[in-house]
Amino acid sequence: MDYIKAFITGGVICIIGQILIDKTNLTPARILVIFVTAGAILTALGIYGPIVEFGGAGATVPLPGFGYALAKGAIKGVKDSGVLGAFTGGVTAAAGGITAAIVFGYLAAVLFDPKEKS
């Protein structure tokens, strides 16, 4: 059951992205920025939390989920360490993802070459 909820939630979020791609001139980079920022803001407003409850990975895997993790981390950081936590909390929560991106990104770049396109 949670797989179906994940499927639908993730799928719907991607549909929103697809509409942005087809209907506007937004480049992928800008769409990613909009989504991560929206995820953080919606988390702060208490809206994204329930979506995560419902959709599980369907809400955390898409990029708004990255914003959710960052925002949640900052809120937790602030609870634990006061003002300083606003600066440390977000990155701490996302540390795994960010580091993985750097490390695997670097490795893949070293090991592979771009292929010509057809």
Binding site: I21, N25, P28, P114, K115, E116, K117, S118
Partner: protein
Amino acid sequence: MSMHRMGGQTLLLTQNPPKIISRATIVGKKEGEGPLAEYFDKILEDDLWGEKSWEKAERRMYVEAAELALKKAQKEPQDINYLFGGDLLDQIISATFAARSLGIPFYGLYGACSSMTQTISLAAPLLDGGYADNVLCVTSSHFCSAERQFRYPLEMGVQRPPTAQWTVTGAGGVLLSVNGEGPCITHVTTGKVIDFGMKDANYMGAAMAPAAADTFRAHFEDTGRGPDDYDLIVTGDLAKYGRELTIDLLKRDGYDIEDRFIDCGCEMFNESQDVHAGASGCACSAVVLAGYLLKKMEDGDIKRILMASTGALHSIITSQQGDSIPGIAHAIAIEKKG
């Protein structure tokens, strides 16, 4: 008015109209699977061609096209007075580094995809006026080097919109001479930079169409000729939608070119090759001219062509700063006499 000028933008070459005595083309794998494959001298098996980078492969194609054109005319680099060339890359490194290998006095030109007719436009009057005997004009482009400079890294998962065009991987060259036989350049109409405010870099055909229409209009007005005076009217890379826009713009000026108008970007690939609107790149008009059109002229199928390669003159920075995309088109009239 200088004695060889006609109207505002056209040169009439009557003293010693330069002839195209030799031509050479080399294309990449995808181009070699297209409808014009049989007209190209060499087709690469892969676009890296054993080189260390796309850029190095592109300049190797450039050198190859130049050397092949010379070989076919039985000439050596020291017989050539000038090499005029350009490409799409920053600082036109393909042309420049190729010129380093070739050792011919060199003028590098940037006109984006308008390079082919742009280089011929400048070479022809030099020959007609007695300032040169042999001039080589070569341009190149490469899908992979162009994508990484102008758009996205190759391995990024992006969708190309229906109006997007595919940069041709290839190099094409022609050798113009005052001696020998071949179709000759009779008129040169220089384009102005025309900008109708299109900003979408994925819809370049629409950005360049106004320039093509403007140059053709200027040519007709300056020379008193009309579309009927030519067997074919050709543009470089307007692709499907840009082509329609050009027809429409010229109709409004009273010129109907529709029944004899072809665009190299539309001819380069088959529908099944999924290039969306069509081909683009300096090499697009270069290889179609040097491979296909000139062959048709040699065979006598076509006698007179009016051709304009078309270029989009934006850069990444201008697009990011919100500027629109200006276009330019340089026209040459080629005629097979006798």
